[in-house]
Symmetry: C2
Subunit: 393 residues, 2 copies
């Protein structure tokens, strides 16, 4: 039988790259392609204790339907974390979601009519581009440098294209690892004051800082309730729990609750109760510190090996945190074509082009350093070096 799908489905193509990358699951391939945290850093024991504790209470409501907004003590905890970041928030400003990806989907559902424009950075998180595209959004992509988005270009783009939403990842951006400077954060907040456009500030990596000073989120400069802040426990606890949140104005949270009701009623009751118990009873900041130390070490090793080995003409970012760095090859390179040869060398990366809505960046690639051991990083960079050297001669 042939199905008569909705128009938006034509925008939901499975990516060729995803298909190629399936081979990276072979154990002999060192993969810098994924966006996975290091599983050996998961607080397995503490999470087990939290689930057992909550299920031992004898209170069956941990398995019952619950409110769409989320478990009230968890919303309280998140609101308190937001206040520590300089964001005025109470529990009514928080919606618990199935990871940040659901937050993006709910926001697209709430704001995007077919043909509406979303302003993004060049490059920008692939998963966000895909979600907006599935609601038939168009894009205006604004250049960014090592200080973050170009604010003047952003203003011009807002004036010319009237975007319905702005989507930024100011801190340790996926895919480049770049962080927006404090000056630009203020400038973006000031700019928002001139327009009515809501800004989605996606911050999944903010806790993973390995050097430099913590910067306040753009949301902390937000007066009118224009900034919609997203984050997740995927990088600080574990992604397989699927637990994230949206911090926004009460009015917007109320609308998001309506959208979420029709989408999946609510996020799992048990997982919210267990994570809240974990957050309350464990040394969370000690755990995040341990992650920072280990990922920082891996980043250092990757940067060192690249510095020592990569041939001239190749450039890369030096992120202060997060899970990724970004490599720029000489102009004529096509990293999509190169990927099959990389896999022959038993090393994988993600080509950069899909991170641009208009498929620029053919000579770029994203490398992940959180999910490989130091030895794998050394060997993987050597394999990449071999590949690059052979291509550049």
């Amino acid at each position: 039988m042939s199905y008569n799908y909705a128009e938006r489905v034509s925008q939901m193509e499975s990516s060729v790259i995803r298909e190629i990358l399936k081979v990276t699951e072979r154990p002999e391939v060192i993969s810098f392609a994924g966006g996975l945290p290091a599983p050996e850093m998961f607080p397995l024991k503490e999470i087990r204790e939290a689930f057992c504790h909550v299920l031992e209470s004898g209170d069956p409501s941990v398995l019952q339907y619950s409110t769409t907004e989320g478990y009230p003590p968890l919303r309280e905890y998140i609101a308190a974390r937001m206040r520590e970041k300089g964001v005025e928030a109470g529990p009514d400003n928080i919606l618990v979601t199935n990871g940040s990806q659901q937050a993006l989907d709910l926001l697209a559902k709430l704001f995007i009519n077919p043909g509406d424009v979303v302003l993004v950075e060049k490059p920008s998180y692939l998963g966000a581009i895909q979600t907006f595209r599935s609601y038939q959004a168009g894009f205006v992509a604004v250049p960014a440098d090592n200080q973050g988005i170009d604010v003047e270009a952003m203003e011009l783009a807002i004036k010319r294209q009237h975007p319905k939403l702005i989507y930024l990842t100011p801190t340790f951006k996926n895919p480049t690892g770049v962080t927006m400077s404090l000056e630009r954060r203020r400038a973006v907040a000031d700019l928002l004051g001139k327009f009515e456009t809501p800004l989605i500030e996606d911050d999944p990596y903010g806790e993973l800082r390995y050097c430099g000073e913590t910067l306040p989120p753009v949301k902390s400069f937000d007066i009118a309730g224009q900034v919609i802040y997203l984050s997740t426990f995927s990088k600080t606890i574990a992604p397989g729990l699927r637990l994230g949140w949206i911090a926004a104005s009460r009015e917007l949270i109320r609308k998001l609750v309506l959208a979420k009701q029709g989408t999946d009623l609510h996020t799992g009751t048990l997982v919210q109760r267990a994570v809240q118990s974990y957050l309350e009873n464990s040394d969370v900041s000690g755990h995040v510190l341990a992650i920072r130390k280990e990922y920082g070490r891996r980043r250092d090793i990757m940067l060192e090996e690249m510095q020592k080995n990569f041939p001239d003409g190749i450039f890369w970012t030096k992120p202060d945190g997060g899970m990724f760095l970004w490599v720029t090859m000489p102009d004529h390179f096509d990293t999509i074509q190169l990927l099959e040869r990389a896999i022959e060398e038993k090393v994988a990366y993600v080509p950069g082009a899909p991170f641009y809505p208009d498929r620029e960046g053919l000579n770029t690639m994203r490398l992940n350093f959180s999910n490989s051991t130091p030895d794998q990083i050394k060997n993987g960079i050597r394999r990449l070096t071999r590949l690059f050297t052979s291509c550049m001669n």
Copy 2:
């Protein structure tokens, strides 16, 4: 700040009834309004053992990102259950979802353009109507009697209105509790053969049969892959886990996977692993038998009390299973208006009108019997009797 929402948001109104029903959370109100399973029947101990077991394995992949399709052994288990129901299915025909509600949302996303028509029964599950409406669907509502949907009227409606989707709950339907007869199931399957319209067969309650013979799902008569079967562990294990599934053709599952990727990446890894472990290691059918026995008893008590007490002129369904029955008052009654008086009497129900896309059924109401104890049922029916008697004199 005022937000400029997408057009579909005008269809996402918070219901007045939901607001009224918030007062039913007061402990002195006996509520037949909710759609909740009895929490005292949840297999709390076994679920705890399953989570502990999976987290004690020392395998951190239980907390890692996982595939959008779902945990392979869980998909295998579900496929085997489908085959027991007479549905040809392998794991590739299964997508794990965050409860059935997400299945409805993904299907609406995949099929509904604004203005498309969905064929539903009169009355039909409120949550499905809301989800389709949030994608700007219109409706054609076809009458149903105590044997299920009127198949002739259904054929006429398909011919005249060309619906994009058909949505039915053939077994112990929410809200009426009615089950479609075997003859009608076959007739619906035959009818589908004549048209290209996909049918969503929503079956959350199928396991909860208290008398009569188990009937095969419509999907078991499906040759062309037109029937999309939905079910859930919410009623047999616990709803707070948010775990359901879609059984459909491989092609459709592949498209649903694309839609789910952009929506929330995947359903929680840990919850899928733990539920699979529970299903494998516990006496699941013994547990379901215990639920059946208890809910059957509660249904019997409710029916008995209604028979003994309700004044003449009131009619109700006698469901063979599920969680609900359906009361029809004399024509001039308005159960929405009556609700506030019911709450004064400290008893609550859901008015029937929202279960009709065009707000018919003003004189109907839904009663839930699974979430009240026998004593509460007796007292609640007495309170309703007092109310009805006072209104009918």
